[in-house]
Amino acid sequence: MLKFFRGKSNWQLFGLLSPGALWILLFFNLPILIVLFISFVERGRAGGIKIPPVYTLDNYSQLFNACVSEFAGAACDPFLYIGIFGNSVRIGLIVTLWCILLGYPLSYFIAKQKPAWRDALMILVIIPFWTNFLVRTYALKQVLAAEGLLNSFLMGIGIISQPLDLLFNEFAVVVGLIYGYLPFAVLPMYASIEKFDHTLMEAAADLGASPRRAFWRVMLPMTMPGVFAALVLVFVPVVGAFITPDIMGGGKVEMIGTLINRQFGVARNWPFGSAMSLMLMLLVLIGVIAYFRSSTEETRRAM
């Protein structure tokens, strides 16, 4: 360590890296330790934690058995929270799948254009990022509302006579999440497809593979790193999402994110919120590790 500081360039390196490292240490690592601490203590009456702290494992056991809570009534469902975790993972998988299914052909289409067009189309994909996420979600809500654009249009052309229930249900949440996270799927898949050497498709055709078989045997395996990257980039934030389920679900669709949000808000149960946050982190971490374990050297490098 001391040896490191003898070289002048090493001092420069230290100077350059310190602000970033300090930032992460102060505003990321330290808060996680605080959250970890809070998850193992009892809650305070009016929010926060009991002072002096009383250590407990109840926050975690409550997660696996909702009836542990002091507020649990007679009709409590012990698997309430596990169910919400499962629901979040399910919605996460559905959204990720749709983002990949919709994003792959779109990425392919853009990658096949002439370079000038390609850049223009990619900018169109990225432009939504320049608008506030909340604003976009509210805008989408207006589209799906009972008197919203979509229903008015469908009724106007006479396909339906009654407005469809498009809002405040899981469908709305899934649509909102796909809408919000599609660009995250397009970017890595586009990068993979754009790099893909199309001569390989000609080689496959030359060897007797129909376009369909050539896609499954050559193009998809070779662009898999982009698909995996899309999977991680979409799934991780979607499982923990809370703004979209809150606005689009109207409080009727519960996900981990909305649940955690509530613990730090109206429920004033910081310790339980902390425990859930850490469980969510653990869940995502396990997923990512499993992915890295199963992926090849090549797919890892593409990340």
């Binding site: 001569t199 000609e202 080689a203 055709a205 030359d206 060897l207 050539a214 045997r217 070779m222």
Partner: protein, 367 residues
Amino acid sequence: MASNEFAVEMQDVVKQFVTPEGGILAAVNHVTMQIKENEFFSLLGPSGCGKTTSLRMIAGFELPTDGKILIHGKEMSQVPAFQRPVNTVFQQYALFPHMTVEQNIGFGLEMKGVSRAERIKRVGEALEMVRLPGMELRRPKQLSGGQQQRIALARALVNKPEVLLLDEPLGALDLKLRKEMQLELKTLQREVGITFIYVTHDQEEALTMSDRIAVMSKGIALQVDIPEAIYERPATKFVADFIGETNFLDGVVKGQNGTTVEIDLVGTGIVYVESSRKFTNGQQVTVAVRPEKLRLNNPDDKDNNLKGHVEEVIYIGTDTHYGVRFAGGHKARIREQNVTLAQKTLAKTGDEVTMSFTHTSPRILTE
């Protein structure tokens, strides 16, 4: 296989592309040629001459704008690439990087539904054929350029195609390996008895390997013939210039006596050239003659003898090259083989010399 003597026929084939500026470019412009069964046929020409486009149309990667392509008598316009009885060796090999050598070579067989056991056997045989046995489990990345080239060859040949298409397959190899592979490819072609269509811009490569060559320029097949004919009897100035080295002496026809044509190389002198073609008096022609067919200071009454001045002398070991300039502005390059050990150069820069050639050695070209 259809009872047709031609493996591949191109009938008045045109391929047009739209250029980025919106114009139309004819990459292949009314090409007609017949490639015979079991022939080693080369498409030779500079880049942009349409040779690769022609090959791609035979493979089915491009469709002709006009004209027909037949493989063993069967018209191909409705047959997609994956159903054509041809296989291609690509310029950059296009091996599948995510597959092993075995999976690469076995890919075509797998698509045909050949059983796994049979595939393993035939992949092994194909690897023997290209002298890379035991490479089954390697990945393309782990192979050298020369090895990748052989795997690409094995991957195509294992399918026993009716025609093998090769798109400058040796282009990425170094010179020594190229030379080795040239002979090896030729031997292999004789062994497997498959029609090879070989695209190259390297005239020496084409001359070495081919049974017949099509010289292409600007989308047109200028001459289709055996290597000797292409070299000795080039049809146009372009062919004469592209294949080997040629001196062009412009002149005017003064008369014709049977097969002997009298040509005035204006200002330089009169020459007589044998030709079976008919010329009219006053016609502008070019006398094309190879440097090795010219003699320096070895005048003979029966030959054409022209007096000029030596402009440069270049000694290149086996030969010495002399650049000679004539009074009429004509220039010629003479190649004299250094036959004896202590060969003295026949002339120095500035010397007046006589250049001679027989009546039969030049060609009279009109285009």
